[in-house]
Point group: C2
Chain length 186, copies 2
DNA sequence: GTTACTGCAAACGATTTGCAAGTGG
DNA sequence: CCACTTGCAAATCGTTTGCAGTAAC
């Protein structure tokens, strides 16, 4: 339950911009991976560390494909699809990575226990924007959950982005109250 | 932007318990479907209304399978898998239904524009609990989003439920900080 | 009668699994 | 040397699509 100290540490990490600080996040993540692998007699394979590094050097969301490409092209360290899945699942258990499902597309994101994710999603075009909402974060952090140890949260705010609002205003042929059309939004 | 009135109407719906009130929600949902189908020259097929009724008579989350079973067994109105998908997609566009992805499992939920969903998810056993969190809801409602028309939101709070906390305490073989084990949680 | 919808089956994409070969401890 | 991992390919799962028949308008 040393969550408090870690939380605040990650909170600082949220504002990190220099490479030094980025490195320290990666190092911290590697330590978590290390200790888990050691404790469970799992192997410290180069793949796992390469993937971790790649993951933490992508800013924002990424797909499994993108991760694979980055590994082969940028790191010259191609890894099979199956291993990517295995490893990402492992990272998810360790809370080093979070998985999102945006309109059917699966996206991952490095999180190092910074599990406060607010996303703004346009239901028309599917665009996803990261969101800073300190008021909401504070409300969630302040909320006590009965018989439940809260580790993190994800908030998805659905709506229509300004670009699509414009498009809708121009079309406007459908008369449902929400003015959500039958545009593609799978 | 008649969202306000609808919101409050749905808020009342949240506390509805009697069949009368449930019926009124279904009727309202049917009206939305009606007007959409009429406006777009789409057909008022019995399937669509049967599915809508079934959806609104399930309380809480349901899978496509469960919906199909309810329709064939309870309503004696079997519907093909493809039609279920088509129709649920239509309902999602109309905001009569919301889709969740819980640990890889897809679940749907009737919502009739009551798009304020708070869920508490155990990352060990995968159990999902609906959550009443007025404080959080208020904070989100109060938040203004730049260049974005907010229609609804979904909040997932991740953590460990009391049952799994007990199990973890008994096992306790892994020494990572979060004490998240390698238990199944895909 | 025209056009949209349904159901079926095939296709598809994403993810998992089985197995043989490889490698870390 | 043993067990865990990897990579490949096959299998599986959830979802979509093409097409022929059917039904709404």
């Amino acid at each position: 339950m040393s969550l408090v100290s870690l939380k605040s540490c990650n909170f600082v990490a949220g504002f990190m911009k220099t490479n030094d600080m980025k490195e320290s996040v990666i190092t911290a993540a590697e330590r978590i991976l290390d200790s888990f692998l050691e404790a469970n007699n799992h192997r410290k394979t180069p793949e796992r560390y390469a993937i971790l590094k790649a993951v933490y050097n992508i800013s924002g969301h990424f797909s499994l494909e993108q991760l694979g490409e980055k590994l082969s092209e940028e790191y010259k360290f191609p890894v099979s699809r199956a291993t990517l899945y295995n490893t990402l699942n492992l990272f998810m258990e360790l809370r080093l990575v979070i998985r999102h499902r945006f309109q059917g597309r699966t996206m991952y994101e490095a999180c190092y226990d910074n599990n406060s994710h607010c996303h703004q999603i346009c239901t028309i075009c599917g665009s996803v924007t990261e969101l800073k909402a300190p008021l909401i974060v504070r409300a969630i952090d302040a909320t006590h959950f009965k018989r439940f140890r809260k580790d993190g949260f994800t908030l998805y705010v659905y709506g229509v982005c300004s670009a699509c609002q414009g498009k809708l205003a121009r079309k406007k042929k459908i008369t449902t109250k929400t003015s959500i059309t039958n545009n593609e939004q799978r």
